[in-house]
């Protein structure tokens, strides 16, 4: 959360235009086009290195830190064993840290990351179930935003969402 006051104003709670969720940091999207912290999980989609039309759906559950990875056709990822996460999960966590910053991801997952360690090495939940189909459909929904036509009718409500260069 951003708890700072616009200069000259009194109380953050009584401001309308305060940014609540910091914008995400730009990152390369080619390998991991989709990352989100939602529904109690860090989840996302990792493009396959060998097949251009295949993607992997990877996720880590908050608190329990169980993880899962499968293709969008629901086949389990071959690189995944009970004892260690696959390269897709590794890529997912690396990109999540780039996108949101380590603090925000660790706080969401309720993970303790010791100084200098990689997030993925601090997650020892083992294999667990995850709704891969739902994550994949959230990714498709995400992509569908880019298909919506723009509008030249004003949207006054967006005044509550000023653009900001603050990234925390």
């Amino acid at each position: 959360m951003i708890d700072c006051l616009p200069a000259g104003t009194a109380v953050w709670e009584q401001c309308g235009r305060v940014p609540v969720v910091p914008p995400v940091r730009p990152r390369k999207l080619a390998k991991v086009p989709f990352v989100e912290l939602a529904d109690g999980r860090l989840q996302g989609v990792v493009s396959s290195g060998s097949d251009i039309s295949r993607v992997y759906v990877s996720s880590v559950t908050a608190a329990t830190h169980t993880y899962s990875c499968s293709t969008n056709n629901n086949r389990p990822c071959g690189g995944l064993s009970g004892s260690s996460p696959c390269k897709h999960l590794r890529a997912l966590t690396v990109e999540a840290v780039l996108q949101y910053g380590l603090d925000r991801v660790a706080r969401y997952l309720r993970a303790e990351v010791s100084e200098g360690a990689d997030l993925i090495d601090c997650l020892r939940g083992g294999l667990g179930p995850a709704p891969a189909a739902m994550v994949f459909s959230r990714f498709l929904r995400h992509l569908a935003y880019l298909e919506l036509p723009d509008t030249t009718m004003p949207i006054p409500e967006l005044h509550w969402f000023p653009a900001t260069r603050m990234v925390r």
Binding site: P6, T9, G16, V21, L146, P154, E157, F161
Partner: protein
């Protein structure tokens, strides 16, 4: 803006603003804990809000709504009535503040002319949106969890697919994303109490049948020369809006008018910074006028009663280069400002273009106009343009929007003139509309790759199978 004008604004805190905002705050705090569990204090706050309307035509309805909600039988109509009351109070605050600002600036404003409402034809969807909003109010922000947030997903998705419902769709999407990012809200230290209540109230009123009609009908068509003052950028994870402020000199003479024109595009959270300029690509003439600091000749462009030109790139052609600072100095004073539509009477929607000069920048970044100080909102500089807090701090002239938030006036910069190494430079938020011009930023963009192109490729491969 001159020191004398700012002093006048400072001295004249309009009567009643504080009292009205107290009533609003009382209602907002009731929303934090939820209407299902009203404490005595929160029940009293709802009753007080309704009581403010005792002598008005809605007095009886408001009183009944408060009684029902306090007694625990909470229906949508009661919440709508209270939301209407809160909106009316903030509308009055808006009117008082804008009148002060207009008086200080010597700005004349047109009277509001209502247009014929049109049917909006999304009844069921809006009903679902209202139900979700009522559920939020009953639960209270503190009780909102993932399941409650996700319950809005389908409604938002369906509303986004209907072009006429973009306003409620974009608003609900922004609110839901914020709530999702804050879950579990119960453990948050501080809540943006006013902000979330603003968004909730507005969404509930927009989702009424006919809630956004009447303001969306073109009142007339305008031709003439559009002189751009600057562009204000609005953005949340899945939307960006570029709102241009300018002065329109009507063809064939006549009084100049203050106008706005906007393009809003859907996006995703990973499209940030200068990449957002790739989204409104259907409007190349507008974008190149911003980037090239040129005027635009427009012909028969529809304009809403709110003073918003409904942009149509085919009705525009590029004009001559224009000095926005000269336009602000010469034309702002005499231009006729547009009226605010009824639902847009809210302090957050005050965004009046002004020119500020002859100031010294104080240590905290405010502008000192010879003893009277104007706060500057440097957090509100968009990442898609070249304006930085440092440039603003080194500036000697600034075109900006006068805003009112959190109990005070502040300036949101849109363009500055600054001295850098004994050279005077200019920076405008729209300078990078055709792509960044700063070599460092160009390089960083090239390194990061084209987010829009990557996602379009993925969409092409995965979405239509």
């Amino acid at each position: 803006m001159l020191a004398a004008q700012l002093t006048r604004l400072r001295d004249g805190e309009p009567a009643g603003v504080e009292e009205a905002l107290e009533l609003v705050t009382g209602f907002d705090e009731a929303l934090v804990h939820g209407l299902a569990r009203l404490s005595e204090q929160h029940a009293a706050a709802l009753t007080a809000l309704a009581g403010a309307f005792a002598l008005t035509p809605i007095g009886e309805g408001a009183a009944e709504a408060a009684v029902k909600v306090v007694s625990g039988s909470i229906a949508e109509e009661h919440l709508t009535m209270l939301a209407g009351g809160r909106t009316a109070l903030l509308g009055a605050v808006h009117d008082a503040l804008l009148a002060e600002l207009d008086a200080a600036l010597g700005r004349e404003r047109a009277a509001w002319q209502a247009a014929q409402p049109e049917a909006d034809g999304a009844g069921n969807l809006l009903g679902a949106a209202r139900s979700w909003l009522c559920e939020l109010a009953i639960t209270g922000w503190r009780g909102v969890d993932h399941d409650l947030v996700s319950a809005s997903d389908q409604t938002v998705e369906a509303l986004l697919a209907v072009p006429e419902q973009r306003r409620p769709a974009v608003l609900l999407d922004g609110l839901a994303a914020e709530l999702r990012a804050c879950c579990p809200i119960g453990t948050m230290e501080r809540l943006p109490v006013r902000r979330w209540a603003d968004l909730w109230t507005r969404a509930l009123l927009l989702a009424r049948a006919g809630g956004q009609s009447g303001e969306r009908v073109a009142a007339e068509r305008l031709s003439g020369r559009l002189l751009i003052l600057g562009v204000d950028v609005h953005e949340h994870a899945t939307a960006v809006q570029l709102q241009v402020h300018g002065v329109l000199e009507p063809a064939g003479g006549g009084r100049a008018r203050l106008v706005r024109t906007s393009v809003a595009a859907a996006k995703v959270d990973t499209i940030v910074g200068p990449a957002v300029w790739k989204l409104p690509h259907r409007h190349p003439r507008l974008l190149s006028a911003l980037a090239g600091r040129r005027s635009l000749e427009i012909t028969d462009m529809p304009v809403l009663a709110s003073g918003d030109l409904v942009w149509d790139d085919d009705r525009a052609r590029a004009g001559a280069p224009v000095d926005a600072f000269a336009v602000a100095r010469v034309s702002l004073a005499g231009a006729l400002a547009p009226a605010a539509p009824p639902l847009d009477r809210h302090p957050v929607l005050i965004a009046e273009p002004v020119l500020v000069a002859d100031y010294k920048v104080t240590r905290d970044g405010s502008f000192d106009l010879g003893g009277v100080v104007l706060a500057v909102d440097t957090d509100g500089l968009p990442a898609c343009g070249p304006l930085t807090p440092k440039l603003v701090a080194g500036s000697s002239e600034c075109i900006g929007l006068m805003r009112w938030d959190g109990g005070g006036w502040l300036l949101q910069p849109l363009a500055v003139r600054a001295k850098v190494k004994s050279e005077t430079i200019e920076a405008h938020t729209g300078d990078w509309a055709m792509g960044p011009t700063d070599p460092k930023v160009v390089k960083a963009e090239a390194r990061a790759g084209d987010a829009v192109a990557v996602l379009r490729e993925r969409a092409g491969r995965l979405l239509r199978r």
